[in-house]
């Protein structure tokens, strides 16, 4: 049996071929961490082996995201059938909307486009303090700013004191430090909470 196809070569081929990939099983493991681990070879900080994009999505042209970076740059991010998309949960490219924020990782193509291995839409990971608790929301203090955290039934989970993830949120207390992994809502600036890491 041949070795699994290198993910970078696969993405490059996918993007050059017009992103018409059917299935991705030829990759073997589709876990991005494992794939990237196998391709990094340098400790030199001057060498960037994976392209990265950050910003707001200004246009969606088929499978191409045109992204306005927060520091003035523009990224063109090509999605393929091998691109993993996260927006509060693992999902499909159909959920991506103009105005969303994003981080993307992939391979830089000769024309400057990034063939994306993974795209995380509206994702945030905030160190907060719980300022208020309601049945469906948390008032959070992040730095010196207030953030509304929406608790999503069937999605929001918590880990207490390093324990396993649970949907039981009854142990949350005002004043607790929490790490909030979630998805920002551009429409109202709130955050849908995916996961809470709760302090001891």
């Amino acid at each position: 049996m041949s070795a699994p196809m290198d993910r970078r070569r696969f993405l490059t081929g996918a993007a050059l071929g017009g992103a018409t990939i059917v299935g991705a099983s030829a990759l073997g493991a589709l876990d991005a961490e494992a794939a990237y681990a196998s391709t990094r070879s340098t400790l030199d900080p001057g060498v960037i082996e994976s392209a990265f994009a950050e910003g707001r999505i200004g246009a969606i042209q088929g499978a191409l995201l045109v992204v306005a970076g927060s520091w003035g740059e523009t990224h063109k991010v090509q999605l393929t059938n091998a691109t993993s998309v996260w927006k509060l949960r693992p999902t499909s490219a159909k959920e991506i909307e103009i105005g969303d924020g994003m981080y993307g990782r992939g391979v830089r193509m000769p024309d400057g486009t990034i063939a994306a291995d993974a795209v995380w839409v509206n994702i945030v990971n905030l160190e907060c303090t719980v300022a208020g608790i309601a049945a469906d929301r948390l008032q959070l203090a992040h730095d010196k700013h207030a953030v509304l955290g929406r608790l999503i039934a069937g999605t929001t989970v918590a880990s207490y004191n390093g324990g396993a993830l649970t949907s039981d949120l009854s142990r949350l207390k005002i004043g607790q430090a929490v790490r909030v992994l979630g998805a920002w809502r551009p429409a109202d600036d709130s955050v849908d909470v995916a996961q809470l890491t709760v302090a001891a």
């Binding site: 990971n125 160190e127 390093g162």
Partner: protein, 140 residues
């Protein structure tokens, strides 16, 4: 400056945004060192200065990592995959004392306590942002 291979520390590695951006990140500054930006390979260290240490207090979780100030270079390696990224310290954090005992595991082996934060660009080199954290070994 190139990254080294001398062991420095190990623990739970998380990610954070800095230097502006969209959503809640828009209100973030460029960090304690004034150089932090989410799209660059930067990190935050709990003992970046005495003032920083006073805030993060990793010692309260049993983590007495050495001081490494702004501009220090570290090589952060995912414990299980071996994926690495070379980063420059640009901020103070994480607030280790607030999360004593927090763990990050892979292949049945866990690292305990938040000991380093990476920008999204850096973290994405060694893991998936949606995981929120990875167990990491740190070299210099």
């Amino acid at each position: 400056m190139a990254c080294g291979s001398t062991f420095l520390w190990k623990g739970k590695c998380t990610w954070f945004c800095c230097g502006g951006g969209w959503g809640p990140c828009g209100a973030t500054g460029t960090g304690a060192c004034g150089t932090c930006q989410s799209s660059q390979f930067k990190g935050a260290w709990p003992n970046a200065s005495q003032a920083c240490f006073t805030i993060t207090r990793p010692d309260l979780c049993g983590e007495n990592m050495p001081r490494r100030g702004c501009g220090s270079v570290m090589n952060v390696k995912h414990q299980c995959t071996g994926a690495t990224v070379c980063i420059t310290i640009a901020d103070c954090g994480p607030r280790t004392k607030s999360f004593c005992g927090a763990t990050s595991c892979c292949n049945g082996q866990c690292r305990t306590n938040h000991v380093i934060d990476l920008t999204p660009a850096a973290f994405a080199q060694i893991g998936n942002l949606s995981s929120g954290h990875v167990p990491a070994w740190i070299y210099e």
